[in-house]
Amino acid sequence: MGNKQTIFTDEQLDAYQDCTFFTRKEILRLHGRYHELAPHLVPMDYTKDPDCKLPLALIVNMPELKENPFRNRIVESFSEDGMGNLSFNEFVDMFSVLSEMAPRELKAIYAFKIYDFNVDNYLCKEDLEKTLNKLTKEELTPEEVELVCQKAIEEADLDGDNKLSFADFENMITRAPDFLSTFHIRI
């Protein structure tokens, strides 16, 4: 119905539909958003799968991410090179995981990556302190930060190594009823 779009081939749209939680319309809309971030860099015609990556600075300026204290970590977790440069594939992937239909396990995996600031596959005390400071905009006193981080690790750490592995994190997330609704960006 209406105009036949020439941004993606039908094959590509099917692939995107099967690999993400978006419908065709939403994928085209996402492409529009991606394009307007850098109109001169992003081609309108994606039928040949062009290799185009947008830098971190452009992506974190999106209104949905601009005020998020974890915006840099979010974009870095989804970029292949770990520096925050997103191709369109990774852009769609990011919003697919953060959409409301993604299951809890998938979101937990990426949440763990986001909060793991030093990328060592563990949430150690420094990671927690950084998270807390970003959350409260450094309004807590250092003693309070220390206390909260210590209590948080005590509560969630199951294997007693004073840092949270992915299993600890996931176990704690399953008991949090709000996780699915807060770890969600509407686009």
Partner: protein, 699 residues
């Protein structure tokens, strides 16, 4: 001594499983190298066959791909490979797969269609982004009620209203019957000339021109149409539509509760794990805008402070001496009695006001209007004053902050719903002379025919007045209290204004108001069939009023309401309101004698008795079938079967609960095993290191 990463990989290596966990050794060994390597993502296990994967999940490969934590390019490559690998399956299996695929496509297209039709979607998104999940859950609840009321109105219109209009315009087929002449007098039409402003007063109180109209029960006739191949029984339709309306509302509430309950049960509702949950799950990623973000941060800060404070309070409470504890508990009991006494006082005031108002009914003019609205005024005043006083009492009781909130909520719910019950009880005692059939007034017609020629219409009018008054009060508060308050706070910089601060949008109080309004509508739907339509319009107006006040006058609450558990709680309170309305419905259908001068049940001793009379006129086979279903031979085996199924599900649930607890314990043990093994490896490494130099020295 240097720790051995390769040795660690012996412990952690998991060649078979999920790609993510098996990736750990390679990540840790690569940590020294630059971060700009392609190790940010787990590897995919190419060797696993698609057939294995399909057995695990019923949805086929595409569902598995969506939920796998692989980068997009990898997912597309996997999809291509899977599509090329045509698995050898039976024709039945491939038919099943194709059916599943087309079903999924259908579901997706339906989802896209409904997405287009969802009411107020963008507004709700904006509210959620700026004010948080708690406030958004209030507006979602309001939207649910609007849709529920509108669909119920369509039901009532289709089965009762439109047939009545059609039959009335075509010609009446009234069933006449002899009865007591005195009881059948009903004269709602006003005598003589009616002044213009009386129309306005009649609109507000449901009397006059509104009384004898499709609005109220009294206008409907006991029409019985029986053509050659078409028959329609209005009284039966009226009764069954009411029953079906109640059942439909209940099913909607339960269905919506189901999704909320699942989350609540899965998370176990444990209060432990507060700090870790606040740190990791409190940030709302959908938060938009600079203001909202700053407020969210202040909110989280406040929550952490409150939790730290609650901890210190608990420590202090545990350190109380016995004498102090005794004093505290006796104080709490005393305060509960005081608040209970306040609530009973409010009930008594409502009782007096209703009796007075019913006694003065029929008066004209503005005073008459005030007398009509007296019960509504007293109920609203009670619902405003008593919670305020109870809040002050709660300060003396010194419960923990979370307990205080719950106690205040229970008191408010009790007050609201039971005050409505008191109003209905007063009306009942007046209509049926307190159930005493031998009382002088009720002897002739089994109800107080002198004051209530058409008692159902009177009850309908009371419910109509309550609904209207609720809406008027909300609009009045918006215009007269909230806007001026904001203007005072914004423009006047004196200390009092700053201390008062802007309005806070208190979610629980607003939700209770909605539940109260909906309970009133349910109670009155039998007597005022157009009430669901009026309620739909009222709730739509309320939505826009609340949205305006939220955006312009309110600051986001520092104490937030948890969105998932609170949605379940709202529905529970709504179900309690539904229960109250059902009690009223069942009692009035079964016990009270319908008015003989008006309405579709005027010639039957009770509303329910229409059903057996119609039943007797059905064909023989239908009667036998229905008798069989109602008989013991059918219902007892059915009950036994339901009992067995229930036991099965209960035992299944307990088995799952047990296995969850066991798995958690196993997880802990495995962690400790890991630690033990790591320590062993370190010791062995040390021993090797010590023995090596000694062997080297020998050479």
């Amino acid at each position: 001594m240097d720790s051995d990463p390769q040795g660690l990989s012996m412990v952690y290596d998991d060649p078979e499983g999920n790609g993510y966990l098996g990736d750990q050794p390679s990540l840790r060994s690569q940590q020294a190298s630059s971060r700009a390597s392609n190790q940010n993502h787990p590897q995919f296990n190419w060797s696993s066959t698609p057939a294995e994967k399909d057995e695990e999940d019923g949805g086929g490969p595409p569902r598995d791909l969506r939920s796998s934590p692989l980068p997009m390019a990898l997912k597309r490559a996997v999809r291509q490979v899977q599509q090329m690998q045509v698995p050898v399956v039976s024709s039945r299996e491939s038919w099943r797969r194709n059916k599943a695929k087309s079903l999924r496509k259908l579901k997706d297209s339906i989802r896209g269609f409904l997405y287009f039709f969802a009411l107020w979607r963008k507004t709700l998104q904006k509210i959620g982004g700026n004010f948080g999940g708690g406030v958004q859950s209030f507006f979602l609840f309001l939207r649910f009620l609007v849709v529920l009321n509108f669909v119920s109105f369509l039901l009532i219109a289709g089965f009762v209203l439109i047939p009545s209009i059609v039959f009335r315009s075509v010609g009446t087929h009234l069933v006449n019957s002899t009865g007591k002449e005195e009881c059948m007098q009903y004269d709602p039409n006003p005598q003589g000339l009616v002044l213009f402003y009386n129309y306005f007063l009649d609109l507000l109180s449901g009397t006059g021109f509104m009384e004898y109209s499709y609005m109220f029960y009294g206008y409907y006739n006991n029409t019985l149409v029986e053509d050659r191949n078409f028959s329609y029984n209005i009284p039966l339709a009226y009764l069954f539509t009411s029953f079906f309306y109640f059942a439909f509302c209940f099913i909607c509430i339960i269905a919506r509760m189901g999704t909320a309950a699942r989350v609540a049960v899965a998370t176990g509702g444990s209060a432990v794990g507060n700090y870790s949950m606040i740190v990791f799950t409190s940030w709302d990623y959908g938060c938009l805008g600079d203001q909202a973000t700053k407020l969210k941060q202040k909110n989280i800060h406040y929550r952490l402070q409150v939790d730290l404070e609650e901890e210190s309070l608990k420590k202090r409470a545990a350190a109380l001496t016995t004498k102090q504890k005794v004093i505290l508990y006796s104080l709490r009991v005393l305060m509960s009695l005081v608040s209970f006494g306040l609530i009973i006082g409010a009930f008594y005031a409502i009782f007096l006001a209703t009796e007075f108002s019913q006694g003065k009914s029929g008066q004209q003019g503005i005073m008459g209007l005030i007398y009509e609205y007296l019960p509504s005024i007293v109920i609203t005043a009670g619902n405003f004053v008593v919670p305020l006083l109870c809040d002050q009492i709660a300060l003396v009781e010194q419960y923990a902050p979370s307990t205080t909130v719950i106690v205040a909520l229970f008191r408010a719910v009790f007050l609201r719903l039971v005050s409505l019950g008191v109003l209905l009880f007063t009306l009942w005692s007046q209509i049926t002379c307190e159930g005493d059939k031998t009382d002088k007034k009720c002897e002739l017609c089994y109800y107080n025919y002198k004051n209530y020629q058409c008692w159902e219409t009177r009850i309908g009018q009371e419910m109509y007045k309550l609904t209207l008054f609720d809406l008027l009060i909300n609009i009045a508060v918006l215009i007269l209290v909230e806007f001026p308050r904001r203007m005072v706070v914004d423009n006047w910089s004196c200390k009092l204004a700053q201390w008062m601060g802007r309005q806070e949008f208190v979610v629980p109080a607003n939700v209770l108001g909605l539940v109260y309004g909906q309970t009133v509508v349910w109670t009155g739907a039998l007597f005022c069939p157009l009430l669901p339509l009026i309620n739909t319009v009222k709730f739509v107006i309320l939505f826009y009023c609340k949205k305006i006040t939220l955006v312009h006058n309110c600051r986001p609450a520092l104490r937030t309401f948890r969105s998932t558990t609170s949605a379940f709680f709202f529905l529970v309170v709504l179900a309690v309101g539904w229960g109250l309305a059902t009690v009223v419905l069942v009692y009035s259908v079964a016990q009270i004698h319908p008015s003989m001068g008006c309405g579709p049940f005027r010639f039957s001793p009770s509303m329910w008795l229409i059903v057996p009379t119609t039943f007797n006129s059905l064909s023989e086979t239908t009667k036998e079938f229905l008798f069989f279903i109602g008989s013991q031979a059918f219902s007892i085996p059915l009950c036994v079967l339901s009992g067995v199924v229930l036991c099965y599900f209960a035992s299944l649930a307990s088995v799952y609960g047990n296995s969850v607890a066991l798995l958690r314990a196993q997880l802990k043990l495995e962690g400790r095993d890991k630690q033990f093994l790591v320590k062993q490896i370190e010791m062995l490494g040390q021993q090797l290191h010590i023995s090596k130099p000694s062997t080297g020295a020998q050479d």
